[in-house]
C-alpha cells in the first residue's frame, strides 16, 4: 500500500527464475520490494544504509545491496535471493549444507546476505584463500558467530564445488 499521491511504476523482473510483475513507488528499495511486494522475506534488512550486508542479493549474478538499489532499477533484471539457493529437489545447496555442517549461523539474520555474497565470491574464485574470503566478507556484519565458522563453511563449500566440477 502506498501514498495515493505517489505514482506507481510497473516493474517486471525475474526472481529465482520466476517472472514477476508488480507495481511500486519510485522510492521503494529492492529489498523492501522483494520482501513486502513479492513476499520473499528471506532477504533481510539490517541497517538500511548499505553497511551490514544482510540484504545482499544477486542482480544478474552480481552481489548487490538490496537496500541501496531501487526496485524500479531492477526492471528487466534477473534477481537471485536466498530462496533460490535451495535445489529443485528441495535439498539444501552445497553452500547452505556447509553452513549447517560448520555451525556457520546462529540467529540466522545476517545469513541470507552472507550466502549471497559467497555465491558470487565462489563463482569468481573457486579456490579462495582464508584471507581472501575474510576480505570478501568484510562488507557483511555478523554479531553472533565471530566469522570463523562462516569462513570454514565457505572453504568447505569451495572444496565441494571444485570436486563437483571435476
Amino acid at each position: 500500500m502506498t501514498n495515493s499521491a505517489e505514482t506507481l511504476h510497473t516493474v517486471t523482473l525475474t526472481v529465482n527464475d520466476v517472472p514477476h510483475e508488480a507495481r511500486c513507488v519510485a522510492r521503494q528499495n529492492l529489498a523492501d520490494f522483494l520482501r513486502h511486494d513479492l513476499q520473499l522475506t528471506g532477504t533481510h534488512v539490517g541497517c538500511e544504509h548499505g553497511v551490514c550486508g544482510a540484504c545482499t542479493v544477486l542482480v544478474d549474478g552480481l552481489a548487490v545491496r538490496g537496500c541501496l538499489m531501487l526496485a524500479v532499477q531492477a526492471k528487466g533484471r534477473s534477481i537471485t535471493t536466498i530462496e533460490g539457493l535451495t535445489q529443485p529437489d528441495q535439498q539444501l545447496g552445497i553452500l547452505q549444507e556447509a553452513f549447517a555442517q560448520h555451525h556457520a549461523l546462529q540467529c540466522g539474520f545476517c545469513t541470507p546476505g552472507i550466502l549471497m555474497t559467497l555465491v558470487e565470491v565462489l563463482q569468481d574464485d573457486p579456490d579462495p584463500s582464508e584471507m581472501a574470503l575474510r576480505e570478501a566478507l568484510s562488507g557483511n556484519l555478523c554479531r553472533c558467530t565471530g566469522y570463523q565458522n562462516i569462513i570454514d563453511a565457505a572453504l568447505a563449500a569451495a572444496a565441494a564445488l571444485r570436486k563437483n566440477q571435476k
Binding site: 500500500m1 502506498t2 546462529q106 568484510s138 553472533c144 558467530t145 570463523q148
Partner: protein
C-alpha cells in the same frame, strides 16, 4: 550408560529453515489489514515540550492516526514503565515514559507515533509533526552529573544520583600499609551497543475471533514482556499473549520491555488494527539500550612476591536518562573485580548516575567484562611495579584448585553468596600458555622485529557467574500423536537453545533430537518464564528439561511395564519405542501416550497417571561460575597505531558441553563482540549529548578481516549445582578479551612507563599513546 545425545555436536534443528530463507522474523509477519508505526523522537538531549502540533501530519493521505501520550491514556494504567528488575532503594521518577509527557531527556526518546498504511507514509508524517521544544542544559557525562550546581538530567528528580553503594570486604586501608608495591589507575570503559543485526520490532495483532491481543515481539523475554504489558494496559493473561518469532540476536538489548512495545500495543487496542513497528539501525543507535560509560579510579597493592593485598577506589557508572531495569550492571561490575584471583581486601564506592543519554542496562557480559578489565589492568600494573613477569603474577594470584569450592565474601545481587563451584584455574592457565606456544613467542617476536613489526603477547582471565534463577520453566510432553514437544519460558535468540534442549530430552526418552519440537517464547503454552539473560538457559532451562524428561520417562516405563507384564528395569526407550531389552516385545511412544490419555468413562490401568507429561521449574541454589583464560598475540604498527590480531587462544570452563560445536560458537561470538569493545566500537556524543555515531559506517563493529582464528579449548569441570553439571557460556567469551589485548599491545610496544587506561583503543588513541611513551621514555 554413556550419554547418546548429550555431548554430541548434533545438527542444529534451527538451521534448515533459516538456510532456506524460510525462518520467520517479526518483520516477516504480515497479517491482513496490517498498518505500520513510526515514532517522532526527541531531537535534543534535554528539553521541555511546549507543543506537539499534529495537524499537518494527520492530513497526509494514508495516515490513520497520530498519537501522543494523551491519546494513549484511555488504555494505559500508567504514563511510565516500571523499573523491571526488583531494585531496593532507588529514587522515584526514574522509569521511561511510554511517550514523552512534558520533558525529553535523551536524543531518541519517543515523543509521538504515527500509524499509517505504510512505513514510508508513517515516516513522512513524522517529519510533519511540529514539535516545539525549549532546550535545557543537558548532563553530558558522569563526572559532570555529580558536580555541585550541575544541571539535572530530569527536572522531576532531586538528584542525578540513581544509586550509590559500597562493595567489598576485609581491611583495605590497613592492608595498604604492608604493601611492597602499589599502582594507581584511572580507567575509562566506554559506551557500546548490543547491535544484533535484526533490530527490535513488535507486531500487535488483535484477534477479533478470540478477543485476544497477540503481541509478536523480537524479545529475549516473552513472559516478562507479557507481565509488564498486562499491568500497563490493565489486561489479564487471557487477554494478552506474547509470542516470539525467530529472534535475530539480542545481546541484552532485547531483555527489556520498551516504550515502543507498549505504545504500539496500546495504539492497536485503541484502533483495533494490527500495527507493526520495526526498528531501523538509526533508532537502534538512538533508543536501544547501551552499556557503560564507567570511570574507575582504583589503587592496588601487592606484597614483595606479587601477591595481591588489596584494591580500593571508586567507580562512577553512567546509567543514562532512565533506569528501566535496575542498577544491576554497576553491581555486577563491582562484584566481578576479584575474578578468579585471591584478593584478600577490597573496597569500592560505586555511584550510578543520570546523564542525558540513552539508558544503560547489560549488554552481553553484563558488567563482568568491566570488572575483569580492572583486575587485569591492576595485575599488569603491579607486575610492572614489582619488576615481575606479567604472566607470572597471574599464576601467583589464581585461586588454587585445592580451595574449591571457593567462597568470596561478596554477594550476588540475589543476595546469595558468590561461590566458585568448581574448576582448576591453574591447569586452564597453563593449558592456554601451552596452546599459544608461549615458549615460541620470543622467536616470533624476533621474526616480526626483523620485518619492522612490533609483536606482543597478553594473557588475561575472567570468571562469569551463570545460570541465574530463580527458576526456568519446562514442560515435556508426549502427545497422542506420539510427538515429543518441549515448552519452555527460556528464549532463544540464536544460541541453538532448541537443539540443546532437544538433546537433553532425547537422552531420557530415546527419541532422535531432530524429531523433538521445542516451543519457546509463547505465553499461551506455559504459564511462567524468565527468558534469555545471564548465560542461564542451558543451565536453568536445561535442568528443568532434564528433570521433566526423566519424569516422563518413568511414566512411559510404568505404562510399558503394565502392557508387557515386565519389570520396569527390563524396559528401554530407544528409537521412539519402549522395548523389553533383548526382545522384540515393544510399543511405540504413540501407543503409550494413547493409553495415558485414557478412554472416556474407563479407568486408567493400575499405576498409570493421566498423560505422558511433566512440568518442572528448576531452581538453582546459586550461580555456577565458569572460568576463562584468553591468550592473544598481536602486532602493532607504530607508525599508524593499527593493531593486527595474530593468534587468539581461549580455554573456557563450560561444566559439561551439551553440544560442543554450539558451545565453541558461543565463545567465538563473545570474544569477537569484546574485540569490538576493546579496539573498534565507539559511541560518540557531542557536547550537547547529541549522538555522533549513528550509522554502522561510523560505529565500527568487527568484520571478518580484523578477526584472527580463535582457538577454543573447552574445559569441563562439572558444576555440582545442577543435574546436568553445565555452566553457561553465552557471555563468557567477553570477559578477559580487552585485558588480554591491551596487555599485548603494551608488550609489543615494550614501554613499561605507562599503562593503557581507556578502551576502546582506536588507532588514533594508540598513536597518541605511542607518542607520549616516546616522550616519557626520553625523559
Amino acid at each position: 550408560m554413556d550419554p547418546r545425545y548429550i555431548g554430541q555436536s548434533v545438527r542444529r534443528q534451527e538451521d534448515d529453515s533459516l538456510l532456506r530463507g524460510m525462518g520467520k522474523f517479526v518483520d516477516d509477519l504480515a497479517p491482513h489489514g496490517l498498518t505500520h508505526a513510526a515514532f517522532l523522537r526527541s531531537p535534543v538531549a534535554h528539553g521541555r515540550i511546549r507543543t506537539i502540533d499534529t495537524t499537518f501530519a494527520s492530513e497526509v493521505p494514508g495516515v490513520i492516526a497520530v498519537l501522543t501520550l494523551a491519546d494513549l491514556r484511555p488504555v494505559l494504567t500508567s504514563d511510565r514503565l516500571p523499573v523491571q528488575f526488583k531494585s531496593d532503594g532507588l529514587p522515584p521518577n526514574i522509569g521511561p515514559y511510554i511517550l514523552a509527557k512534558e520533558e525529553v531527556v535523551y536524543v531518541g526518546e519517543t515523543v509521538a507515533l504515527v500509524i499509517a498504511e505504510s512505513r514510508a507514509i508513517a515516516e513522512d508524517a513524522v517529519a510533519l509533526i511540529d514539535l516545539d521544544i525549549e532546550e535545557l542544559d543537558p548532563v553530558t557525562g558522569c563526572h559532570q552529573a555529580v558536580q555541585p550546581g550541575a544541571p539535572k538530567a530530569a527536572l522531576d528528580r532531586d538528584s542525578n544520583i540513581f544509586a550509590q553503594f559500597e562493595m567489598g570486604y576485609g581491611e583495605v586501608d590497613q592492608s595498604f600499609a604492608t604493601a611492597a608495591h602499589t599502582v594507581s589507575l584511572s580507567l575509562v570503559q566506554h559506551r557500546g551497543g548490543a547491535h544484533p543485526i535484526e533490530g527490535r520490532g513488535v507486531l500487535a495483532h488483535p484477534d477479533s475471533l478470540s478477543g485476544q491481543m497477540t503481541v509478536w515481539s523480537s524479545t529475549q523475554q516473552a513472559h516478562e514482556a507479557r507481565g509488564f504489558l498486562i499491568e500497563l494496559l490493565g489486561l489479564d493473561e487471557t487477554l494478552l499473549r506474547v509470542r516470539t518469532p525467530e529472534v535475530g540476536g539480542g545481546f541484552g538489548a532485547k531483555y527489556l520491555l520498551y516504550p515502543e512495545e507498549v505504545s504500539v500495543t496500546a495504539a492497536s487496542l485503541l484502533l483495533g488494527r494490527p500495527i507493526k513497528w520495526i526498528e531501523d539501525r538509526r533508532e537502534h543507535f538512538l533508543a536501544a539500550i547501551q552499556e557503560r560509560d564507567q570511570f574507575w579510579d582504583v589503587e592496588a597493592a601487592c606484597d614483595a612476591s606479587g601477591k595481591l593485598i588489596g584494591i580500593r577506589g571508586t567507580m562512577i557508572h553512567d546509567g543514562g536518562a532512565y533506569v528501566p531495569q535496575g542498577v544491576n550492571l554497576a553491581y555486577n561490575a563491582a562484584t566481578a573485580v576479584p575474578g578468579p584471583y585471591d584478593l584478600p581486601n577490597y573496597k569500592l564506592s560505586v555511584q550510578a548516575v543520570a546523564t542525558n543519554k540513552v539508558p544503560t542496562i547489560p549488554v552481553r557480559g553484563a558488567g563482568y567484562p568491566e570488572g575483569t578489565f580492572v583486575m587485569e589492568r591492576v595485575l599488569d600494573g603491579l607486575a610492572d611495579a614489582a619488576g615481575l613477569d606479567r604472566i607470572e603474577i597471574r599464576r601467583r594470584n589464581l585461586i588454587p584448585a585445592s580451595a574449591m569450592p571457593f567462597s568470596t565474601p561478596l554477594k550476588s545481587r540475589s543476595g546469595s553468596g558468590i561461590t566458585y563451584d568448581s574448576g582448576d584455574f591453574h591447569a586452564m592457565y597453563e593449558q592456554a600458555l601451552k596452546e599459544i606456544d608461549l615458549g615460541g613467542f620470543a622467536d616470533r617476536k624476533a621474526q616480526a622485529a626483523k620485518a619492522g613489526r612490533l609483536r606482543g603477547i597478553g594473557v588475561a582471565c575472567g570468571i562469569k557467574g551463570t545460570g541465574r534463577g530463580p527458576y526456568e520453566s519446562a514442560t515435556v510432553r508426549i502427545g497422542k500423536s506420539g510427538k515429543v514437544t518441549v515448552f519452555t519460558g527460556a528464549m532463544p535468540m540464536g544460541q541453538g537453545l532448541k537443539t540443546a534442549l532437544s538433546q537433553i530430552t532425547a537422552e531420557s526418552l530415546g527419541v532422535d533430537p531432530g524429531d523433538i519440537t521445542v516451543v519457546c517464547g509463547d505465553t499461551n503454552t506455559i504459564s511462567l518464564g524468565l527468558g534469555g539473560f545471564a548465560s542461564r538457559q542451558t543451565v536453568v532451562a536445561g535442568s528443568s528439561v532434564t528433570v521433566a524428561a526423566k519424569a516422563v520417562r518413568e511414566q512411559a516405563l510404568t505404562i510399558a511395564a503394565g502392557l508387557f507384564e515386565a519389570d520396569v528395569g527390563d524396559i528401554e526407550l530407544v528409537d521412539g519405542m519402549a522395548r523389553v531389552k533383548g526382545t522384540e516385545i515393544q510399543a511405540s511412544l504413540k501407543e503409550l501416550a494413547k493409553i495415558a490419555g485414557g478412554s472416556p468413562g474407563y479407568s486408567l490401568p493400575t499405576g498409570v497417571t493421566p498423560g505422558l507429561e511433566a512440568t518442572e521449574y528448576f531452581m538453582p541454589s546459586g550461580l555456577t561460575y565458569g572460568m576463562g583464560v584468553h591468550a592473544v598475540e598481536l602486532e602493532v604498527d607504530a607508525e599508524t597505531g593499527a593493531v593486527t590480531l595474530q593468534r587468539y587462544v581461549v580455554v573456557n570452563d563450560c561444566g559439561r558441553a551439551i553440544n560442543p560445536k554450539i558451545v565453541v560458537g558461543q565463545i567465538h561470538g563473545g570474544v569477537v563482540h569484546a574485540i569490538g569493545n576493546a579496539l573498534f566500537e565507539f559511541m560518540g556524543y557531542d557536547e550537547q549529548a547529541q549522538p555522533t555515531t549513528t550509522t554502522l559506517a561510523d560505529y565500527l563493529m568487527p568484520t571478518a578481516p580484523e578477526i584472527p582464528r580463535i582457538d577454543v579449548h573447552l574445559a569441563e569441570y562439572p558444576s555440582p549445582l545442577n543435574p546436568l553439571g553445565v555452566k553457561g557460556v553465552g557471555e563468557a567469551g567477553c570477559l578477559p578479551t580487552a585485558g588480554a589485548i591491551v596487555s599485548a599491545i603494551e608488550n609489543a610496544l615494550g614501554s613499561k612507563n605507562q599503562l593503557i587506561q581507556r578502551i576502546p583503543v582506536m588507532p588514533q588513541d594508540l598513536f597518541q599513546f605511542i607518542q607520549q611513551g616516546k616522550q616519557t621514555d626520553a625523559a
